[in-house]
């Protein structure tokens, strides 16, 4: 049996204790705490996703505003969208949006209690329903975007 002593650096905010009281030392979160396990890391990525989604949304609204000026402005926006940096931003934002949506919908079964008569639906069924609704809404949006709108140059709807 043996023992040795070393100094540790994981504590900050060492304060002077009031007379007759214990120390007010309170460990702080160390830098890089989110790398301690993968759940913390996914949480931080989810928080970071808000930044990219906000950036993308502001840019999108600004482009919509610019497009009101006419055909030339519209074509300039389309050209800007095709720029490699723009494609990269869209791709990264899409990945973050999927991460955010998946983690949000995984919550559905946890948060929402759904009853059918006296029976409570299992959380997995509620979550599966939320994912099915997400898929259906995405499909409807995709169909609308691909099949809707006007034919170029004819002024007719497709």
């Amino acid at each position: 049996m043996s023992h040795t002593q070393t100094t540790v650096s994981w504590v900050r905010n060492v304060a002077t204790a009031p007379a007759g009281y214990h120390s007010a030392t309170r460990p702080g979160l160390p830098w890089g705490w989110w790398r301690a396990n993968h759940r913390y890391t996914i949480y931080m990525l989810r928080e970071l996703s808000s930044l990219f989604i906000a950036l993308w949304s502001v840019r999108f609204v600004m482009q919509l505003d610019r497009m009101r000026s006419g055909k030339n402005a519209y074509e300039a926006v389309v050209a800007a969208q095709r720029h490699p940096l723009s494609v990269l931003l869209n791709l990264v934002t899409l990945l973050f949006a999927i991460l955010h949506s998946v983690t949000f919908l995984q919550l559905a079964g946890t948060v929402q209690t759904v009853r059918l008569g006296a029976r409570r639906l299992p959380a997995e069924h509620v979550t599966a329903g939320a994912f099915a609704g997400w898929a259906a809404a995405s499909l409807m949006l995709l169909v609308t975007l691909l099949c809707g709108g006007r034919k170029e140059g004819t002024g007719q709807t497709r």
Binding site: M1, S2, H3, T4, Q5, T6, T7, V8, W10, V11, V14, A17, H22, S23, A24, T25, R26, P27, G28, L29, W33, W34, A36, N37, R39, Y40, Y43, E47, L107, T110, V111, Q112, T113, A118
Partner: protein, 249 residues
């Protein structure tokens, strides 16, 4: 004769009367496969260094006293076997996010204050006479709060919560889960009073759903669920007051 197997514990020490900051001390002790981390600490206390301080009581995961950080994870030391770490060293530190009183002993005053704020007991506006009998509940009514009643106040959820680490004013997972436990009880009539505490800025809305509190809980309580459900309830309550103001009490 083969030498006796040993294991090394690296234990956080802090003696505020003689030290300005915590340090770490290593103890090499005999290893047995059936030893838990708490047994190892008790061995050190009994045979190596009697000055080591830590809390413990029941040794069976009921009292919630022996929560510590073991190899970086908030853990009940009475339920953490050395064989899961052997032959590596075992690092034992006090629970994160709490002030340290001495060595592995943390200050629970903040939690005790917050716990009393949510009034974790059954509140009745009126009591029916004993002659009318017990307050009966159906299995479905018990099911509404049963998992939250398993909380043993071990504080592992607070140690796992980075929001509490950054915002000490945060009401925290266990206090909110226990508020949910009593507000979900069909015998209780105090949910409105608790909601005032829960819907304050330092309570449920401080939670950004890391979810680690539910992972850390040794009793299978899901504080993250309690917090998100309470968020949903308070939101519905707000909309109800806005759209149906005549229902306001």
């Amino acid at each position: 004769m083969a030498s006796e197997p040993t294991i090394t514990l690296s234990v956080a020490r802090y003696r505020p009367d003689t030290e300005a900051a915590p340090s770490r001390q290593s103890y090499t002790i005999p290893y047995r496969e059936d030893m838990v981390v708490l047994d190892a600490l008790n061995y050190v206390k009994s045979y190596v260094d009697g000055s080591l301080s830590f809390r413990w009581s029941c040794r069976m995961g009921i009292c919630g006293s022996c929560g510590m950080t073991v190899n970086g994870a908030p853990t009940l030391t009475c339920a953490s076997f050395l064989r899961d770490f052997y032959p590596r060293d075992v690092v034992v530190e006090p629970l994160a996010n709490f002030p340290i009183i001495r060595d592995l002993v943390i200050d629970l005053s903040d939690f005790m204050h917050k716990l009393s704020m949510v009034q974790p007991w059954i509140i009745r506006e009126y009591e029916k006479p004993i002659s009318e009998g017990e307050y009966l509940q159906t299995p479905a009514q018990v099911d509404e709060y049963h998992q939250y009643s398993a909380c043993i106040n071990c504080m592992l959820c607070y140690a796992a919560c980075p929001v509490y680490g950054m915002e000490p004013a945060f009401l925290g997972p266990a206090a909110i889960a226990l508020a949910r436990r009593y507000s979900s009880d069909s015998r209780d009539q105090g949910s409105r009073a608790r909601l005032r505490v829960l819907s304050a800025s330092d309570a449920i809305w401080n939670c950004t759903f890391v979810g680690e509190c539910s992972v850390a809980c040794p009793k299978g309580v899901d504080p993250a669920k309690a917090i998100q459900q309470t968020k949903l309830d308070t939101t519905m309550d707000w909309y109800k007051k806005l759209l149906l103001p005549w229902t306001r009490r």
